[in-house]
Amino acid sequence: MRTRHRQKLAWIWLLLSALLTVFLFGASQISIENAVQERVRAHLLLTLDESHFGNAKNQTNDQKALQRIGKQINAAMQNLVVNRWYSAQKSCVVRLQRIDEVAIDDNPARRVINISLSRNQIEREVDIGLSCSPNWWVALGIGAGLGLLFAGIGIFLPPPLSKAHRQWINYLLERGYSGAEAFEIIRQYDAPRLALSPAQLVCLEQLHDREAHNFPDVLEMVTHEGVAVLDDDQVDWLVLGLQSHPGNLSRALGLASAKDAVEIDLREMKLSVRGLHVPISRTPLLYYAWYAMSRVSGDGWITNPASNRPDPVLGRELVHLMSEFDGHARAINELERTGLRAKTLDQNRSKIKDDMVAVLGEKLAPAYLFEASKHPNGIHMRYRLQVEARHIHIIR
């Protein structure tokens, strides 16, 4: 950041030196021109005798006299402009060149100042030649002076804050950082580094912890190029991944970009979402597997039994599944004895939800839980897994 800042200062120095030199030379020239014009005009008004000028259009001026007087005035003006050593112009020569049609001095001048002078009530044109040479030492002095100034700025002053820097400092101030802290943290980063995509911003918002003072680490993480391309859902998964395995960005990125999949391993009695293990006890897992099988084999809807009348058919389905995969004997016995009770089914869905939210969080978990609707008979509720069948993989 400082190197770039110094490069920028060098360019500004060059540009400013050039501009200031041009401005000083131009302004100095104009200032001298105006002063010379004023002084010479006043002098001519007082001293240029009207008797040498014609009174009308068909009268000519006394050329000889005007030439003689013009030469005398030029001699008097020999040292009219005295330039000091620090002036942008030097060696200024002022000469009367022409009075009306009478040529006084033929030497070419860099600038010709034209003034109008009333003599015998007729306006006379007077040309004053002004030739000054640029004082290059001043240009050199300007360059050196500005160079020193900019070198001092580059060495002793911190680089100025960009708009992005100021925004981030404000961001940190709003979150309780002190001004010095915020400045110290933000000044380390180039402005492009601080330009975050919405996804990165969301990610940072979620991971940044003022107490943990983790802004630099989080910023380091979210500015990874893999993060910039994530969509909103993927960012949620990334955050989940980083929360479950702090500091392991590649693993979190793997989770964020993984295919959406629910895997139910009935042999190992394990449930995983996008490869992320969701600890769940055996009975709820078998209930989850039962709903998943229903989703895979059809529309997935399973109607809740009436609260006062257990469903023996659904109970038998579950007994069959539990028996095959070593379900709890007590649960099997109850199902065999009374059928599937609404209360039991609700308790297990609730348990599944708790376990799923514990791992995936409130935001991500619902996509793998249940959706509900009224049975077409208008009396009973029915439930199914929200996740689509093609994303469900059951190992048995």
Partner: protein, 277 residues
């Protein structure tokens, strides 16, 4: 804030360099019509002030007089002011601001109408009478509409000039030449002559005098309009006519006349001789 301060410091320095980097010297207000020479040998002496009221404008006159020992004996410097008659402020004569005046007698006479003592100047020397004529390079001018048709006449831009303004205009008027010829006015005799030789005008009024072939005033024969016009004269302030400088001034005048480029100005007549003579 620091950048702002740096900006203002730079601005102030810039303004200082632009505005205080130079100084325009005062130009002494002086009369450029005055030509002056200092006489080193007598630097503490008074200044001899000479008024040329016929606008002879002889640049050599000042130097010639400064080198004249007779002048150097009495004066420390010489100032000569040549003035166009139509811009002459007569107060300078009433108030005796000049020691020596070269003027046409009619001018001094008009100033001195109240009597001999109206002004303190005395005639000491005079050039001979002269005439006025119209001159053209190709042929002798004629005061007729047919001859003047399409021609341009140059006149001296000075209504006080008898020979080069009053007489030619009167002649044209008498001849009924109101539209032809066209007239251009010039501020000096020198430019009048130059305009004729450069073809800017076809006719000019010229001095009728016995100029020799080498004189700058020598012109082809012309149409004589008037033969006797009193010549210009030198008038000296009365105080100087009484002092020891008078004889030397007369000698200087005579010396100056002898050295003149023009035959006419070589013929000077001393009207009031030196008492020593």
């Amino acid at each position: 804030m620091l950048y702002g301060a740096a900006f203002f410091v730079t601005l102030a320095l810039g303004w200082f360099v632009v505005d205080c980097g130079y100084e325009i010297q005062q130009l002494e207000v002086r009369d450029y019509n005055i030509r002056r020479c200092d006489i080193v040998a007598n630097s503490s002496g008074p200044v001899l002030r000479v008024l040329d009221a016929i606008y002879m404008e002889d640049p050599d006159l000042v130097n010639t007089w400064c080198q004249t020992p007779e002048i150097a004996r009495h004066f420390g410097a010489l100032e000569l002011r040549s003035v166009h008659r139509d811009h002459l402020d007569l107060r300078v004569l009433y108030e005796s601001r000049y020691d020596l005046v070269l003027a046409k007698p009619e001018l001094i006479n008009s100033v001195g109408q109240a009597g001999k003592d109206a002004i303190d100047y005395e005639l000491i020397a005079q050039y001979s009478d002269y005439g006025s004529q119209l001159v053209a390079l190709q042929s002798i001018p004629e005061l007729s509409a047919s001859w003047m048709k399409g021609k341009t006449l140059g006149l001296l831009d000075d209504p006080n000039s008898v020979s080069a303004y009053q007489i030619p205009r009167a002649a044209l008027h008498r001849s009924g030449l109101t539209d032809e010829p066209g007239i251009i006015y010039f501020r000096s005799y020198r430019e009048l002559y130059k305009a004729l030789f450069e073809g800017q005008v076809d006719i000019i009024p010229a001095l009728l005098s016995d100029e020799g072939p080498d004189s700058a005033l020598q012109l082809p024969p012309g149409l004589v309009l008037e033969e006797t016009i009193p010549g210009p004269a030198w008038y000296l302030h009365r105080e100087l006519t009484q002092g020891p400088a008078y004889c030397d001034l007369l000698a200087a005048l005579a010396e100056s006349a002898r050295n003149s480029k023009f035959d006419y100005f070589r013929k000077i007549r001393i009207v009031r001789p030196c008492y020593a003579d």
